[in-house]
């Protein structure tokens, strides 16, 4: 069984090696089948583990990774409920996206096609390593791996410099967060002598308040970088430069949720530090609202979805910040369904529009691409919290937990939820309803996507619709299977008081009414024939993302570039190069001078000869004296 567990990440790695090394020889079909096949087998193995309940709190150790007198870090996997859940999401959604990509990337030349799949497999491998690791160091290895893969995949079309900048930006911002993560790992190693979860969590009571606050804040800094919270979120919208399936996998379903996983895993530590929890909740809330306001006024379909991701991640952090760990993880699961569905649907729309991503040029696509229309509609309903969709259940849980924590938090989170529904319906209306605003040839090009793209859409739509039933509140006849499932590892939120049912009904009513209002408003504003997409005043500021990117550029990026330029020209060119070249020049100069001894004049030579003989005689006949003298010195 342990070998099976090892196979789960190993198969995608194998896929990476095979498809990557043979990318010049494999045809597109072969690359697609190989890569998707490996992920598919990993998914089946994960299902086997899931159904055989092969969980334990003990780690499976394979070999010693780093061991010296002070630390012992072993390469071991922890197969428990939390990691199995994430594995299911990663391999399942990953498999669907692989299948989708075989059709979406059809126009690429075979080597680039194979390269794409190799990177995707490497990404799945790294992500699996992240969730399977039994200590923080293995998690960090996977953490870095997904960072690298996101860089490789965002900059996949590397001939475009803008895309390369976006990839670089993503990687650098990730790295800034990683510094926090690394410092936290060092702190943990110093305090406990080991980074294993079991050791850390069982001995966590030995930590002082300052220690645990410091560690958790540093861990959260890592999560900020990876999960795109304020202030390190600007990379995610720019990361839309990569292919759409990449955005679906990495930036919707998996990589960005690594931060949530990390905090859920470390819930023992976080629960000990109320200060950090408050910080997490506040930052999550601020991010949710900020990103939602920006998403309201974006004209690129992928940018809207990117800001939506940032906003939803904020929701998850709000959940974690109030102590509702299982809720956060649950929202991860449902979000992966409907966000991946949204991105894949957007990919389908872009494919139908022949590469156009501007929603001011779309409209009325409902009749032309029906499957995409219906699945997109389901996703929009899910994310807005339409009753009994998966999104509804998870979002309600978050809202209820927020309400139990503090009232202002609850109202602000609700406000963010309203904004979510607003911008999602805006996009939906602008793309699928109203009149077509594109060019003539685009209109002729419109067609439904091939089955390889629509079948994953349908599967994800089903999941998005019914995925909530594992956690349906009892008022509606459900049972919290999810909380029970995760209970050994992650605690659920404890509601006190009996007013739960009343709150639920209020929420249900409020949701239905609110959604109706928003739907009608959006239909009136956006299901139109003419839509310029130009904004003035405050709306312009929002459309320009609050000018945060420009702010970062001015404060951080440009000074750094100037310093680097200074170092390059002064220190590197003049200083170091000067020294290195100077040594060479000095030798040349001195050899020129020494060469002058050979004057060619015989008289000089004889003189030197005589002098040398003189010296030789003196030395020879005064040997003892000279040897004694030398011995005194040395």
């Amino acid at each position: 069984m342990n070998a099976l567990v090892l196979c789960i990440p190993l198969l995608p790695f194998l896929g990476f090696l095979i498809v990557g090394l043979f990318r010049n020889k494999l045809s597109r079909t072969m690359s697609g089948i190989l890569a998707s096949g490996f992920i598919g087998i990993s998914f089946i193995l994960t299902l086997v583990i899931f159904f055989s309940h092969y969980y334990s709190a003990n780690a499976i150790t394979y070999f010693d990774f780093i061991s010296n007198s002070q630390y012992n870090i072993s390469f071991s996997f922890q197969v428990d409920q939390l990691s199995t859940l994430f594995m299911l999401i990663i391999t399942g959604v990953g498999f669907l996206i692989h299948v989708y990509s075989t059709a979406y990337m059809r126009e690429e030349p075979p080597e680039h096609f194979a390269r794409y799949f190799a990177y995707l497999n490497l990404f799945v491998f790294s992500m699996l390593l992240l969730v399977l690791g039994a200590n923080y160091v293995i998690m960090f290895i996977g953490w870095e791996g997904v960072g690298i893969c996101s860089y490789l995949l965002i900059g996949f079309w590397f001939k475009n410099n803008q895309f390369n900048y976006a990839a670089r930006k993503a990687f650098i911002m990730n790295r800034i967060g990683d510094v926090g993560f690394l410092l936290a790992i060092f702190w943990i190693l110093t305090k406990f002598g080991s980074a294993d979860y079991s050791v850390v969590f069982s001995n966590s009571s030995t930590l002082s308040v300052a220690d645990v606050t410091g560690i958790t804040i540093l861990l959260f800094v890592g999560a900020i970088g990876k999960s795109a919270q304020i202030p390190l979120y600007t990379w995610l919208p720019d990361a839309m430069a990569g292919p759409t399936p990449v955005s679906a996998l990495i930036h919707a379903a998996t990589m960005v949720t690594a931060g949530i996983y990390m905090i859920a895993r470390s819930n023992v530590l976080f629960s000990m530090s109320p200060v950090t929890m408050d910080i997490v909740a506040v930052i999550g809330l601020a991010t949710a609202i900020l990103a939602a306001t920006i998403a309201l006024f974006q004209n690129d379909i992928k940018k809207v979805l990117a800001y939506s991701t940032v906003s939803q991640l904020g929701f998850m952090f709000v959940a974690l910040g109030v102590g509702a760990y299982t809720t956060g993880v649950f929202h991860v699961m449902t979000h992966s369904f409907f966000k991946a569905l949204l991105f894949l649907g957007a990919g389908s729309v872009i494919h139908a529009m022949g590469g156009e991503q501007d929603i001011t040029k779309m409209g009325g696509l409902r009749k032309k691409i029906p499957i995409t229309y219906w699945t997109f509609l389901i996703a929009v309903l899910a994310i807005s919290g339409f009753p009994f969709t998966s999104g509804f259940v998870s979002k309600d849980e978050i809202l209820m937990a927020a309400y139990a924590h503090s009232q202002p938090l609850f109202w602000l989170t609700t406000f963010a939820a309203v904004l979510t529904a607003l911008y999602m319906f805006r996009v939906f209306m602008l793309v699928f309803l109203g009149g077509f605003r594109g060019s003539e040839e685009q209109q002729h090009h419109l067609h439904e996507s091939p089955p390889a793209m629509t079948i994953p859409l349908i599967i994800l739509a089903v999941l998005a619709a019914v995925g909530g039933f594992v956690q349906l509140p009892e008022i509606f006849g459900g049972h919290d299977y999810f909380n029970e499932f995760l209970a050994p590892v992650v605690p659920a939120f404890k509601h006190v008081g009996e007013s739960l049912a009343v709150q639920e009904y209020y929420l249900l009513a409020g949701t239905v009414v609110g959604l109706l209002i928003i739907f009608l408003l959006c239909k009136k504003w956006y299901a139109v024939k003419q839509f310029e997409g130009k904004y003035t005043g405050i709306k312009n500021v929002l459309a320009h993302k609050w000018y945060i990117d420009e702010l970062y550029d001015a404060i951080i990026v440009n000074p750094f570039n100037n310093i680097a330029g200074f170092l390059k020209s002064i220190v590197e060119k003049s200083g170091i190069d000067g020294i290195v070249n100077g040594v060479g020049r000095f030798i040349q100069y001195s050899s020129r001078q020494v060469r002058l001894v050979q004057s060619g004049m015989v008289g000089n030579y004889i003189l030197i000869m005589v002098l040398s003989i003189t010296v030789l005689f003196m030395v020879f006949w005064n040997q003892d004296l000279i040897i004694g003298f030398l011995q005194k010195i040395f």
Binding site: G603, L607, L611, T614, F617, M618, W621
Partner: protein, 168 residues
């Protein structure tokens, strides 16, 4: 002071004075002539040491043949109007100093060799300088080097002719 000592000192002074004259004269012909005087002084020393054969051979070969050869070449060069190029007095100074230094060292070394202090040179007596004895040793013990030296002369002659040939 017996006559032998006086003759020894006279000959020594003569040799040294002539040597200095050789080194310092500007006109090369004078240098050649002073060198002939040196050879005569040295031959006198040989006679004092009863090395008769060598004294005569010294005059015949060195003073008679070699110096005459030098004179031939000097006169052929027609070196009266030697272009006086930049005289490097510093080099002359250095040369004299080097020579003096060498002298100091040699003399000091010989002074410090204590087992030599007691030996003396026998003047005027002794048979080994006689031509008969020298010839016996030369043609019995050193016959091979004698023959080889004839080959040496052959090669020297050939060399001189080859080098001195005009390019035609």
């Amino acid at each position: 002071m017996d006559i032998t000592t006086i003759i020894f000192w006279f000959l020594s002074v003569l040799a040294l004075f002539s040597a200095i004259m050789v080194v310092t004269r500007k006109n090369p012909i004078f240098s050649v002539l002073w060198l002939i005087v040196v050879f005569f002084a040295i031959s006198g020393h040989y006679l004092l040491l009863n090395a008769q054969f060598l004294a005569v051979v010294n005059i015949i070969v060195y003073a008679g043949a070699i110096m005459v050869l030098f004179l031939f070449v000097v006169m052929m060069m027609n070196l009266d109007n030697l272009p006086v190029v930049n005289k490097n007095t510093w080099m002359k100074f250095l040369g004299v100093i080097s020579g003096g230094l060498l002298l100091c060292i040699l003399v000091s070394t010989s002074k410090s060799a204590t087992d030599m202090n007691l030996k003396t040179i026998v003047l005027k007596d002794g048979d080994i300088g006689l031509i008969e004895n020298l010839g016996k040793v030369l043609f019995t013990k050193y016959a091979l080097p004698f023959e080889i030296s004839s080959i040496l002369f052959l090669s020297a002659m050939v060399g001189a002719v080859v080098i001195g040939k005009k390019e035609s």
